[in-house]
C-alpha cells in the first residue's frame, strides 16, 4: 500500500493525515515551525519563501478560524492566497468537487488547502491533482485534521520538551473528532508511551484501542497523573440524537473543572482546539486558568502551518 502522502523520493508531497508518517517528518515540521515562531513575533512578520506561489483555500465546509490561520500563514510566507467559500458557490450550482479542483488547477495553483465535511475528501483531491500540486488537509469529516494535531504537538513540546515520558489524555467526543484521530496518530508516532481517551461509550468509535490508546469512561481515573489534557469540542447537535441526554449531565461527568484537573499532575497543561463551549466541555476557570495553554496554541498554529507550507513547497 503506497503512502499517498509521500512522493517517490519518500518526501512529503501532501499533508493529509498524521497517520503513517514517520516521526522524522513530524519532527522536521515541528523544528521548522520553531524557526517561524521568531518570524511571527517580529515587527515585520514576513519572509519571502513562497513568493509567487498561488495557494487556494478550498473550504467546502464553513470555517473562519482555520481558514484565517492558513491565510495568515500563507501571507507571512509571501504567497498569494485566494479564499474560496465553495459551500456558497460552485457546489450549489451543481459543479462536482473534482471539477472545481480542475478549474483551479488550470489557473496554475501550487497548493490547495482543503476543508470538507466528508472523510476522505482531501485524499480524493490529492489523487486527482497534477503531480506538482500539493494538498493540505484542513479537516475532512471525522477523519483527520493534521495541522491541528501538529500544532498541538508543537505546544506540548514547547511546555514538556520530551514526548517520551508523557501521559496524555484526550477527553470528549472521540467518535466524531478528526482532531482526536490526528492527535492519537501523532502522539503514538512521536513516542508518547501512554495515550488515554476519556469518553462516554456513545462517543467512542469501535475498537479505538487498536489505535494504541487506553480507554477510560471515568474522568477521575482517566485524568490521574497525566501531563497533558487535550479537550475536544462537543458539537451541540450531539444532544439531538440519543447519544447524550443533556449538556448538563455531560458537563457533570466529562466537563473539565478545577477539581477534576487537580487529579492530573500539578504542572499538567490544558489544551483545546477551539472554539470552546464554556460550561459544556470546559469550565471557564480552567480555560482561563494558569494551566491553560489554549491561546499559545493559536499563536503556534500560524508557525506550524507556515512550516507545513514551506516544507511542501520545497519538496
Amino acid at each position: 500500500m503506497n503512502n499517498p502522502q509521500l512522493n517517490k523520493n519518500g518526501k512529503l508531497q501532501h499533508l493529509l493525515t498524521t497517520e503513517g508518517l514517520p516521526a522524522s517528518i513530524l519532527l522536521k515540521i515541528l523544528d521548522t515551525a520553531e524557526s517561524f515562531v521568531g518570524v511571527t513575533q517580529r515587527d515585520i512578520k514576513k519572509v519571502p519563501l513562497l513568493r509567487g506561489k498561488a495557494i487556494f483555500n478550498l473550504f467546502f465546509e464553513p470555517s473562519t478560524r482555520t481558514r484565517t490561520t492558513f491565510e495568515i500563514a500563507a501571507k507571512r510566507l509571501s504567497a498569494d492566497i485566494v479564499n474560496l467559500n465553495i459551500a456558497a458557490s460552485s457546489q450549489s450550482k451543481g459543479e462536482t468537487m473534482l471539477d472545481t479542483v480542475n478549474n483551479l488547477s488550470a489557473m496554475n495553483a501550487d497548493m490547495f488547502i482543503v476543508r470538507h465535511s466528508q472523510s476522505g475528501a482531501a485524499h480524493l483531491i490529492a489523487r486527482h491533482v497534477r503531480p506538482e500540486i500539493h494538498v493540505i488537509n484542513a479537516g475532512d469529516g471525522r477523519h483527520a485534521h493534521p495541522t491541528q494535531a501538529l500544532l498541538d504537538m508543537f505546544t506540548i513540546r514547547r511546555y514538556k520538551r520530551d514526548f517520551h515520558n508523557l501521559r496524555v489524555a484526550i477527553v470528549g467526543d472521540i467518535l466524531h473528532s478528526r482532531v482526536a484521530r490526528s492527535q492519537i496518530h501523532a502522539l503514538t508516532t512521536l513516542g508518547v508511551p501512554e495515550v488515554r481517551v476519556i469518553s462516554p461509550k456513545t462517543l467512542l468509535p469501535t475498537k479505538v484501542e487498536r489505535l494504541g490508546v487506553h480507554v477510560y469512561h471515568d474522568m477521575e481515573q482517566g485524568l490521574k497523573d497525566v501531563d497533558v489534557v487535550l479537550m475536544l469540542r462537543l458539537q451541540n447537535e450531539r444532544m439531538l440524537g440519543a447519544r447524550l441526554p443533556s449538556a448538563e449531565e455531560y458537563f457533570k461527568h466529562y466537563g473539565l473543572t478545577q477539581e477534576k484537573l487537580a487529579l492530573a499532575k500539578h504542572d499538567a497543561i490544558v489544551m483545546h482546539p477551539g472554539p470552546m463551549n464554556r460550561g459544556i466541555e470546559i469550565d471557564s476557570a480552567v480555560a482561563d486558568g494558569k494551566q491553560s495553554v489554549i491561546l499559545p496554541q493559536v499563536t503556534f498554529g500560524i508557525a506550524v502551518r507556515m512550516a507545513v507550507m514551506a516544507i511542501l513547497a520545497g519538496n
Binding site: 500500500m1 499517498p4 497517520e19 462536482t96 468537487m97 473534482l98 470538507h116 466528508q118 472523510s119 476522505g120 475528501a121 485524499h123 480524493l124 486527482h128 475532512d140 469529516g141 471525522r142 477523519h143 483527520a144 478528526r178 484521530r181 468509535p205 469501535t206 475498537k207 479505538v208 487498536r210 489505535l211
Partner: protein
Amino acid sequence: MRILIKDGRVIDPENGMDAVNDVYIVAGKIVAVGDGPDSFQANHVINARGLVVCPGLVDLSVRLREPGLQYKATLESEMKAAAAGGITSLACPPDTDPPLDEPGLVEMLKDRARSLNQAHVYPIGALTQGLKGERLTEMAELHEAGCVAFSQSDKLLLGSRVMMQAMQYASTFNFRVWLRPEDDGIADSGVAHDGEVATRLGLPAVPVCAETIALSKIILIAKGTGAKVHVCRISSAEGVAMVREARQQGLPITCDVAVNHIHLSEMDISFFDSNCHLIPPLRGISDRDALRSGLVDGTIDAVCSDHAPVDEDAKLVPFGESEAGASCIELLLSLVLKWAEEINIPLAVAVAKVTSEPAKILGVEAGDLSVGAAADLCIFDPEQHWRVEASMLRSQGKNTPFLGMELQGKVKYTLANGIIVYED
C-alpha cells in the same frame, strides 16, 4: 443448428459428471453428452480440448438498471457483459425506476430481454408497492407475468408486522421471499463496517447487529409462518452462524453471498477506495473467512455477482457520498475459481455454487447439462490469466474493486439456447 463441443472437461455438478466428454446440441437443446447420436453431422464444432465445459452460470443478483436508470447501464450493455461472464440465467432485483411492482413492467422487461436473445432474465418482483414497505404487491399477478420471487431489494423499510404478513401471503402461493437482512434503524447512514477501518478513517459505520437483528426477525417469522425465505448477501460471521442453526432446525431457508465479500474485507477500503463502497459493507477478515467456510459447508448455497454498475461520476466523490455497488458480472466465474483454488476444493463444487445451486433457489430449469435441457453452457479456460482493466469490461459500469488485479480462468464461449452469444 447442430453443434458439437469436442473433448472438453465436462463439469455438470447436478448430474455428478466431471470427465472429458463431447456435448451434442441440436436446435438449442442438449441431445447427448458422451456418445453422440448416430451419424451426427455438426454445422459447427467447438474444440474444447483443455477447456472446461459447464452449465451456463446462474447469477442471483444482477442490476440491469432498466427500466429507468439507463444512465448507469442499459439492458444491451449488461446482457453483453453477462454473456462475457458466462452467465446464461440471471435474476434482477426490483429496485429499478419505477420498481418492478406491476405486471406490465415485468412483461416489458422480459420482452426486451428476450429480444436480445442472450441470457434468460428472471425478474424478482417487488414485495411491497413502490418498495415502500407498506402495501403488498399483487404477487400472484406478478408471478404470472414472470416474477420468480419477491423482495425488498436494498430498500428495507419493512416493519415487523408488514414483514410477517408479506411472508404469510407469499407462502400462501408457495412463493419464496428474498430478503437482505439489515435493520435500517441501526444501519442508519453508515457506509462501512463498524470496525477498525471505519474507526481509523472516520467513516459512519454499520455494526454487525444491523444484520443479526434483522436476520433473527426473518428467521423467527419464517419459523412462525412456514414461509420459504432466501437470505440475500449475508456479510458477517454471526449471520452465517444464525443461518446455519436455522437450517439445522429444518427451516426452509436458503442463502447467498456476493462474490466481493468472499475475497475482500474492510481492509481493502485502504485510503477511501469508493469502489469498495458496497452494500452490505465489506466486513472484517474473520467475517470474510466465515463466509468462505459457510459456502463450503453448504450454509450458504450460492455465490452471486451482486452486479451493480454505477456511473463514474457517482464514484468520484468522497467515500461517504459515493454510490454503493460494484460491477462484477464479468468477474464472477474467475473469482469463484479463485476461492476454490485458495481453499483447495474441487472445481465441481465451485461450479455448483454458480450453476445448479442458484438454479434451485430460483426454481427454474437451468444450471445443468441434462439431455433435453436448453443448451446454456459456459466454456472456459481454467488456466488462462487475465488482468481486470476498465477498458475490457463490457458492462457500462467500470466500478470494481478488482481493477488491475490478475485473475485466473477466462470464459471462451457462452451459449444460450444453443446460440453462441459470446466468443473470446
